[in-house]
Amino acid sequence: MSLPSGSAVRFDGTALGVFAFFFVLITVLGFIAARWRRGDLSQLHEWGLGGRRFGAFVTWFLLGGDLYTAYTLIAVPALVYAVGAYGFFAMPYTVFVYPIVFLTMPRLWNVCRKHGWITSADFVEGRYGSRGLALAVAITGVLATMPYIALQLVGLEKVFEAMGLGALVIAFVILALYTYSSGLRAPALIAFVKDAMLYITVIAAVVIIPIKLGGYGAVFDAAGKAFAAKGGDTGVLLKPDQYWSFATLALGSAFALFLYPHATTATLSADGPQTIRRNAVWLPAYSIMLGLVALLGYMALAAHVDVKDGSMAVPALINASFPPWFAGFCFAAIALGALVPAAIMSIGAANLFTRNIWRAYVNANLSNAQESRIAKNVSLLVKFGALLAVLYLPTKFAIDLQLLGGIWMLQIFPAVIAGLFTRWLRASALMAGWIAGMVLGSALAWHQGLKPVITFAFGDAHYGIYIGLLALVVNFVVAILATPVAARLKREAPVDRTQKIDFEDVVPD
């Protein structure tokens, strides 16, 4: 059985009512959040890290809401809809992430807590005694985050488009205001509602839609036929040519994820290293959901949803499969899925800018209250910039920048993650590696026509490698080779403000 072809813009009063209800609800929650676990919001660690008081439960919702963004929920099934199995690199990606988090992030939390650090750039400065390297880390973070926020708004736009409504700006102003007033507490509180709604949406979709379509076997068959008709590098299984790009994209993306300021911010807001470890065990529940969401791409094919723009596949499928009231509910869930990460990203970028750019280079004598105020204003500015970008620049621009952003983000891996375990690498060598990685990564991506993968041919065999990962390898090699040189030129490394024990858990007595 096939579903009626999805006319994207089908929308009535019921759906609007349901949508508006949830939007008002989360707006109220966003402002109430300022009083939740009350802290002095004129302190940056209170506004920007929620006072580092979130337990395992809150952190699970916060990180889940933060990492599995609306863009992800739209873009992954869009890719699966367009090319099939290749889009599933998101699955191994999210499998790889959590062991990495488990082994690294508790150390970062411990050392940052000990020294009152709020960003990864704070850590790099304290560890290597290099303001320049810290600036490089901060700039990378801010640059990579801006297009990511813009893409969240694109996700939001898709939903409003599907509902036939142009109220993007209103949603956006609401987001900006409650983030300004409540800081990280707002997305943390809203994440509860958002994630609950998202789970309901996804479970309903992956149970009900396949039943209508004759079961999962039929869905995979239909998708396979659709790809066979389409041809090219598509299909419900990978082509041998795609093995390497599939694996390296997954691995590189996994290394990059927790370097993003929004991930670091949400991680550092946890109340302890054990909270982070427990989350590394339980966050994969979201990965199951992501895998199911990816399958929506196949369901859209099986249901003969025909859209030009793949990112409309899921909204169109929802519209075609559910009664209006539930479609409104689903769209609200996706819209909230954009607001929570957008809020956290703007906070993460604001923390970086305030601490590691403004405080380090413009005004070193900021009072705590001034620091917090600047961060609030920067968070507004960042979001406003993202909104302008969405309204006036082509979407492709944001997508291309986001792709470059992933490649850039990976390049702070040696300074931040290696720095958690060893200080053998010199700051100047890390700087050289960072420059090499940034230049090479951007140049290769540019040369490939802003594609993430570069293909090497050996005879008949083709190996696609994720450019970010390739640039990271070069980055590491440069840093390792340059370290003995740097040590020779300048015998003494600057003071390391951390001690070995700062990275370990504090044992309660």
Binding site: M91, Y98, P99, F102, P240, A247, A250, L251, W282
Partner: protein, 62 residues
């Protein structure tokens, strides 16, 4: 016992091997409940990786 605990985190390498070895699981059969093996394997590893992380976590605390 002590050495075992020190080496325990190494089991976290297993999910990487399992999923980076793409040709091994890029196949249709054996399918489960209509899902080609490619998908079954990936979903299974979400759960198995979480389980391994949990085991390391338990060992850490003990």
């Amino acid at each position: 016992m002590r050495t075992m605990r020190r080496w325990l985190p190494l089991i976290l390498v297993i999910p990487f091997i399992a999923l980076l070895w793409v040709p091994f699981y890029n196949r249709t059969q054996p399918a489960v409940a209509g899902f080609p093996f490619f998908y079954v394997w990936q979903f299974a590893w979400v759960v198995l990786a979480a389980l391994l992380t949990w085991i390391v976590h338990r060992g850490w605390r003990a």
